[in-house]
């Protein structure tokens, strides 16, 4: 019977084997509060965040676990901070490869090297490299842990959505399983079903943008090599294995190599192991022994849905927006979607906030997606020049970069993901001009060391009133929300990151650790007004 939901790809980890649910024998469709479709990193993180906030959630996936292949590889500091809030970051950090140094080559010359120079006083590094199946496995481990602690999360493997019928206050899903079809209803549906999103297709929603005329080959090779743990990028490499090449280290002695192949290629031929080996041999030299672990060919695409919210259906991750991979802006931006959505949906679901709060998920994350698409498009235009003159300028920049430092700032082999600041969001409240720009309303809170602890550990469960060097009530209740105070004395890091030229500060911080508003001293009516605004009642 299992051919009713065939496997489309092989699994790295079988995490949630199919088990028949009583819903499948129900006389009428069972009604659930929140259904998540898609068990990739974004779907798993959504279910985990909602479940930890006490929201009952059912996740449907047409497979039973994490697919093979390293795919999303670079996970950013902000992603690790969000995963830490979700109880999943420690094993990621332990397994992942830390790197800070990048080198840029043109032909056979080293042009320059850069250090991501992570600022001191943060719990997490700028980036780790970790294969996507491991990232998903650690999220799943955290779900199992959360379930044991009572989080109402249910995962249903081999449950494929075949039809979706939206209504005013719910959505009906037709689902196929190894035991045949059944129906479910959901108050809210979150579509995390990837760049080819079947749900998006079923609803006839468009996914507009640019496809770049280029193909990239990923070759993951397993070898004992003594290359340093750095990101090496070649423009027009001397070994002629592609128009550009990237070398990056993964856990388990595996190296990610990307080759730029051009547009007119024979995919099947390029994926033959002998042809991949010819490229890798030319790059590494004839004496290096390695095994091919996983290979894939992809094109650069930058596009997004016009809106991420469609009534009771919300799109997140690659289903909502897609970017080219140089810059690590795919999974990292999807995790920021989750971070933005979960607390809002929890407040709407329990009646504290109006439904319109979810429209700010759309506006804030469309802003984030546009920022990522802009950066990704520019990097792609630099890596793949479209005209002879743009290639001439690109190569002029590379020639100058070896000798003149200014040109290095123009070289673009991918602008690496930084968290989005929601400038101009309707949820942002009062600002204070003496305080640092990096913590203005809309910004993600930068971490800071506290005595034996980290600032971000204290933020993210609900709204928090952070006070530095000043007084305020221990708790504030307004508009159905309880705001707990976090009282701190200034440290050098808090001064630089939160006070600036001010002597003291009061910050209202959202459950996603973004700043809602800030003042020099506590004023109950100002804080209550900012809180109303931050939950969409302003």
């Amino acid at each position: 019977m299992t051919e009713l939901v065939p496997e489309r790809y092989a699994l790295a980890f079988r995490l949630y084997p199919y088990a028949k649910s009583p819903d499948q024998d129900a006389a009428s469709p069972a009604r659930h509060k929140i259904v998540v479709v898609g068990g990739g990193p974004i779907g798993l993180a959504t279910a985990l965040d909602l479940g930890r906030r006490g929201m009952p959630v059912v996740l449907l996936d047409d497979h039973e676990g994490a697919g093979l292949g390293s795919r999303a590889l670079c996970f950013s500091k902000r992603t690790l901070e969000i995963c830490d809030r979700l109880g999943a970051a420690a094993p990621m950090l332990e397994k992942g490869v830390l790197w800070n140094v990048g080198k840029v080559f043109h032909d056979d010359r080293l042009l320059y090297e850069f250090n991501l120079l992570p600022e001191d006083g943060h719990a997490f590094p700028a980036f780790i490299n970790l294969q996507q199946p491991w990232f998903e496995k650690f999220l799943h481990d955290a779900i199992v842990q959360a379930q044991a602690e009572g989080a109402p999360i249910e995962l249903r493997g081999r449950n494929r959505v075949d039809a979706v019928t939206p209504a005013e206050d719910h959505v009906t899903l037709d689902i196929m399983t190894p035991d045949g079809p059944y129906q479910l209803q959901a108050d809210w549906l979150i579509a995390c079903d990837g760049a080819r999103s079947p749900l998006r297709g079923m609803l006839g929603l468009s996914f507009d943008g640019r496809v770049f005329e280029d193909n990239f080959l990923i070759a993951d090779v397993k070898m004992k090599a003594d290359f340093p743990t750095e990101r090496w990028f070649w423009f027009e490499p001397h070994f002629k294995s592609g128009d550009s090449a990237l070398l990056h280290k993964q856990p388990d002695d595996i190296w990610r190599i990307d080759f730029q192949l051009g547009w007119d290629i024979d995919r099947a031929k390029e994926l033959e192991p002998a042809n991949i080996r010819a490229r890798v041999d030319a790059m590494l030299g004839p004496d290096v022994e390695y095994e091919l672990d996983w290979c894939s060919i992809y094109t650069f695409q930058c596009r997004r849905m016009e809106k991420f919210r469609h009534g009771r259906i919300l799109f997140a991750g690659d289903a909502a927006h897609q970017v080219s991979p140089f810059g690590a802006r795919g999974a990292n931006s999807g995790i920021q979607d989750v971070d933005n959505l979960a607390w809002k949906l929890a407040l709407v679901q329990d009646g504290t906030a109006p439904e319109s709060l979810l429209d700010t998920y759309d506006s804030e994350r469309v802003h984030g997606a546009d920022e990522n698409i802009l950066n990704s498009t520019r990097a792609t235009d630099f890596i793949t020049p479209k005209t002879p003159i743009s290639r001439m300028f690109r190569n002029a920049v590379l020639t100058l970069a070896e000798h003149l430092p200014f040109a290095r700032t123009v070289v673009n082999s991918g602008r690496l993901s930084v968290p989005c600041t929601y400038d101009g969001s309707a949820l942002n409240g009062d600002d204070h001009p003496a305080m640092p720009a990096r913590t203005r309303p809309g910004s993600p809170c930068p971490d800071a060391p506290l005595a034996g602890d980290w600032l971000l550990n204290h933020l993210g469960r609900g709204f928090v009133l952070l006070t530095i060097n000043t007084d305020a009530p221990e708790q504030l209740d307004a508009h159905g929300v309880s705001v707990a105070r976090l009282a701190l004395e200034a440290t050098p890091e808090l001064e630089t990151r939160y006070l600036g030229d001010a002597r003291q500060a009061v910050y209202l911080i959202r459950p996603d650790q973004h700043v809602a508003a800030r003042w020099e001293s506590f004023d109950e009516s100002a804080v209550a007004a900012a809180l109303a605004r931050a939950i969409g009642k302003g």
Partner: protein, 64 residues
């Protein structure tokens, strides 16, 4: 503000130096030199508003 009034200290000498710099180069080498020169001068100017004005003049010398 982009300076469009005379600003070269030695106009004739500077123009001659520009032409002399290209001596003996193929057309392709000259184009490559020009692109490098543009980038070096853009960095020296630095200001994006001034540069945007210069780009508009260069694209369309009559319409400005």
């Amino acid at each position: 503000m982009l300076i469009t009034t005379p600003n070269l200290t030695k106009p004739d000498e500077t123009y001659a130096a520009l032409i002399a710099t290209h001596e003996g180069l193929s057309e392709a080498e000259s184009h490559a030199l020009n692109t490098r020169l543009i980038l070096i001068l853009m960095n020296h100017i630095g200001n994006d508003v001034v540069l945007a004005e210069a780009l508009r003049w260069a694209r369309n010398p009559e319409a400005e």
